[in-house]
Point group: C2
Chain length 340, copies 2
């Protein structure tokens, strides 16, 4: 075969040289429907194969001003809800001919510099999971013509599309179930104080408790972190009068609370005390946990997110949409059933 | 501000127009150390800010023939080991100025078309987790000048760098522990038959059992899948003489086996029977499981992987390296301790 210096990436020029054709001919050979003589095209393809050359889609994208890259910013990959959704988003985007440019950030870290980063990489669109966005940045994105879709987060007052679960209404349902199960001392375990999901779930929980004539809940903060959720549960159990029902702002913290109960308390979940989460991650259904929860169907959410992204790419002018994906309460063994 | 049609991305030409300078001046203004008059530069930066224009790093990368993108191919995101490693890899690459182009594929699916895809996106390098690679493809990558590093997989006989845990030696240690704990009826739960990790762990387990004078293990296949691992455990428990020690090819399957035992058997883990995994995923240490396992330090593995990628980018000629990251046996409650 013709020699290319070890490691150097073969270029269109190399292919032209080996095929004995012009460089434009090489590019035509790799362009759908371009006019080129069959034998010229064959020469080019043979040379390309020999050299291991491939047309560069990123270079091509500049002419169409499309990178076919969608930036996905995500933290909390230790919470199984996010990798599960990420996997679905990547698969659906791939079917649509887009690739995922992944940006991770530590939980609660400001995502602004990271987003700056995203724009500099010229992504076609931006999906932000478990991250909020400032109005200044939302404005910058719309100026730059980069559609943004928030998943599992909302930023009130911004013109940014969102896909979320039934955070507030789901929490109202949870409060009703707790009341109808005969509980009298509810508690709420918050996630990160500045996370809209935690705020909305708490708001719905309070609304539901009031409607059911129950007192304001005891309150601890688990920061969406496993170990901090365990400490928060210990704090509740150490109270002179511990709660008889704990709603945790997500399943991941609820699993921590449930295990702390198993290991460090005589209270039996589903009998003496109810532990309820939010999300329905796979582990919630594991036999050791059987966690009652309100579901957020991540596969459906992923479909809606990608559909929204593609829609905004096709119709840049379209106004932002707040898409709420339906979920439902799942009664499992970690919480007391509603009384007949 | 000067008007740009809604949604259209501002170009260098727009900036030149608004700033009243030439287009080359715009590009010089955004190029480190390029010669340009201070006031011209200021004009450009003001116009760029006004329009929300950013220099396009991908376009720039073509002149340096570097996309600053590293393709990461991964499946099994439902196994917490992989998202944990992915998060570390992305963070370390970001520090080095690289971004992750994520490719996911269903467990066990052939990754050849996916990899073709990777090359067409002109990534600088390729990290393959939980995926093997054919010699033909390895050859294509080296021709294309794209370094490839396999994580947690090995492909014997190929010139491809790998970063793995102590699969075979770790499994030997597990066999020794089982023997010294007084077990007599070992069993092995395989993952996917064609996965090198499962093969190497089984090989080490057999070697260790023989050395310890124990019989060949009973054998079931869990396919690295939670539900199939539960069925495989049920099959073992249904035997006239069930095993007294089960080594599962990874923690994820071991957690399924452990819970099946809890729910469906009178055998007490750590007393009547030992369940042992491999990886040390976070959930292995959860109080409900306390799974004995052999650790694969994913953070360290991620560091080694990125270091290998950067090394191969700097020195394309370098031969492939097989890097084995040390781990250790972790005695928890799911297995019987060694007898004094």
């Amino acid at each position: 075969m013709s020699s290319i210096k070890n490691g150097r990436r073969p270029t269109a020029r190399d292919v032209a040289r080996v095929a004995g054709v012009s460089q434009p001919a090489v590019s035509r050979a790799f362009t759908e429907g371009a006019s080129i003589a069959v034998e010229t095209r064959d020469k080019v393809l043979r040379a390309a194969k020999e050299l291991g050359y491939r047309p560069n889609l990123i270079a091509r994208s500049l002419t169409t001003s499309r990178s076919r890259l969608v930036g996905v910013a995500m933290s909390y990959l230790e919470n199984p809800f996010y990798p599960a959704m990420l996997e679905r988003i990547a698969a659906i985007l791939a079917d649509a001919g887009y690739k995922v440019l992944l940006f991770t950030s530590p939980p609660g870290a400001p995502c602004e510099p990271l987003l700056e980063d995203v724009l500099r990489n010229r992504v076609d669109a931006l999906i932000l999971a478990s991250a909020s966005i400032t109005s200044r940045f939302a404005e910058e994105c719309s100026r730059a013509g980069v559609p943004v879709v928030l998943v599992n987060r909302r930023t009130p007052g911004h013109r940014t599309s969102t896909v979320t679960g039934m955070n507030e209404d789901g929490a109202v349902v949870i409060a009703e179930r707790i009341a109808r199960a005969g509980h009298r001392r509810p508690a709420f375990m918050a996630g990160l104080e500045n996370a809209s999901t935690s705020q909305e779930r708490e708001r719905g929980f309070l609304r539901g408790l009031v409607a059911a004539g129950l007192p304001e809940p005891l309150r601890v903060v688990g920061h969406f972190d496993f170990e901090r959720a365990r400490s928060a549960m210990r704090a509740l159990l150490a109270l002179p009068k511990p709660p008889d029902a704990v709603f945790c702002a997500n399943d991941y913290m609820a699993l921590a609370a449930l295990q702390t109960l198993h290991e460090e308390s005589a209270l039996r979940p589903g009998r003496d005390i109810s532990i309820i989460g939010f999300d329905d991650i796979p582990a919630a259904a594991w036999p050791s946990f059987a966690l009652s929860t309100f579901s957020q169907p991540y596969a459906l959410m992923a479909e809606r997110v990608v559909a929204r992204v593609l829609d905004q790419l096709r119709h840049p002018g379209r106004p932002a949409v707040e898409d709420v994906v339906p979920g439902s309460f799942l009664q499992r063994r970690s919480s007391r059933p509603v009384r007949a």
